[in-house]
C-alpha cells in the first residue's frame, strides 16, 4: 500500500529532480576517407571553451553549451532558435583508433577526425623460411 503523499513527512519525500538543461542533437554528418572517419556537427553559438568531447568506453560523447545570454537591455521580439545545449552520442566500434581522435571547432562547426584502426588496413604477411 503506498503512502498518502499529503501526510508523508517532508523528510521522506523523494528529493526534487536536479535541474537539467534541455539538450538537442545537433545536425551532423559522417564521411569516410581512406584513413579516417570525419564527423562534422553544426553547433552554432558554442565557443571552443564550451565544447567537450569525451570518449567513454564504447561511446563518443560531445557536449556543447550555448552560454551566450542576451544583454539585459535587449527585449526579444522574435525567436526561432532553440535555447538548448547540444549533445551528440555516437557508438564507436573496433574500426576506430580511439586514442587518436582529434577535434576542431571553426565558426560553430565541430569537426571530429576518427582515424581508422591500424589493424584494419591490409597487411602483407611475409612467409618465414
Amino acid at each position: 500500500m503506498t503512502q498518502d503523499p499529503t501526510t508523508t513527512p517532508l523528510a521522506e519525500k523523494p528529493a526534487a529532480a536536479p535541474q537539467t538543461r534541455f539538450t538537442v542533437t545537433p545536425r551532423y554528418r559522417v564521411e569516410e576517407n581512406a584513413d579516417a572517419y570525419v564527423i562534422t556537427a553544426d553547433v552554432p553559438g558554442a565557443a571552443a571553451t564550451d565544447v567537450e568531447t569525451i570518449v567513454d568506453g564504447e561511446k563518443l560523447v560531445v557536449n556543447a553549451r550555448r552560454n551566450w545570454i542576451a544583454p539585459e537591455a535587449w527585449t526579444l521580439v522574435h525567436r526561432e532558435t532553440a535555447r538548448a545545449d547540444y549533445r551528440l552520442v555516437l557508438e564507436l566500434d573496433r574500426r576506430v583508433n580511439r586514442d587518436a581522435i582529434k577535434a576542431q571547432l571553426t565558426q560553430g562547426v565541430l569537426t571530429l577526425t576518427l582515424p581508422k584502426a591500424g589493424e584494419l588496413k591490409p597487411r602483407k604477411i611475409e612467409i618465414a623460411g
Binding site: V24, T25, P26, R27, R29, E31, N33, V38, T40, D42, V43, P44, G45, A46, A47, W68, A70, P71, A73, W74, T75, L76, V77, H78, R79, E80, T81, A82, Y86, T106, Q107, G108, V109
Partner: protein
C-alpha cells in the same frame, strides 16, 4: 509614441504546418541545406533595445567573406555562399549553394551605422535606430 510592428517574413520553403514547427523544437534548428533535401532558411532571433535592433542568425561553417548582409527599403537580406568539394572525387566540380533570408525591418533605422559581427557561427547584425525614434525622457516642470 510610435508603435513599431515587426513583420518577419516566413521561411521560403514549406515549413508552415504546426506539426513541422513542433518537430523543429526537438531538432537542432539549422536545416542542412547542402546535406539533405531541405533547402534554404536558417533560424533568426530578433531583439531590440532603446538604441538598436539586433538580428542574430545561426549560420555555422561559413567564412566571413562568404556572408553578405544588405539593407534596402526596410528589408534586411542575409546571404551565405558555400562551396563544397566532393570529398572522394577531387576532380568533380565543386557544388555551390546559396542560402538567403529576407527580414522585414521597422522604419526609422539608421542605415549608415549598421554593423555585423560573425562569431561562433552566429551572425549578429546591429541596426541602430535613428535618434528621433529613441525613447526620450522629457522632464516636465510642475508649476
Amino acid at each position: 509614441m510610435k508603435l513599431i510592428r515587426f513583420r518577419p517574413t516566413t521561411p521560403t520553403f514549406n515549413q508552415g504546418t504546426l506539426l513541422a514547427e513542433l518537430d523543429r523544437l526537438f531538432d537542432a534548428g539549422f536545416p542542412a541545406f547542402n546535406r539533405g533535401p531541405t533547402f534554404g532558411a536558417f533560424p533568426v532571433d530578433i531583439y531590440q533595445d532603446g538604441d538598436a535592433v539586433n538580428v542574430c542568425a545561426e549560420l555555422p561553417g561559413f567564412r566571413k567573406e562568404d556572408l553578405h548582409v544588405k539593407v534596402a527599403d526596410d528589408i534586411l537580406t542575409i546571404t551565405g555562399h558555400l562551396t563544397t568539394a566532393d570529398a572522394k572525387d577531387k576532380d568533380a566540380p565543386k557544388t555551390e549553394t546559396t542560402i538567403e533570408r529576407a527580414i522585414a525591418l521597422p522604419e526609422n533605422l539608421n542605415y549608415d551605422k549598421v554593423a555585423a559581427a560573425y562569431e561562433n557561427g552566429v551572425l549578429t547584425v546591429t541596426l541602430p535606430k535613428r535618434d528621433e525614434v529613441k525613447p526620450k525622457t522629457v522632464a516636465i516642470e510642475v508649476k
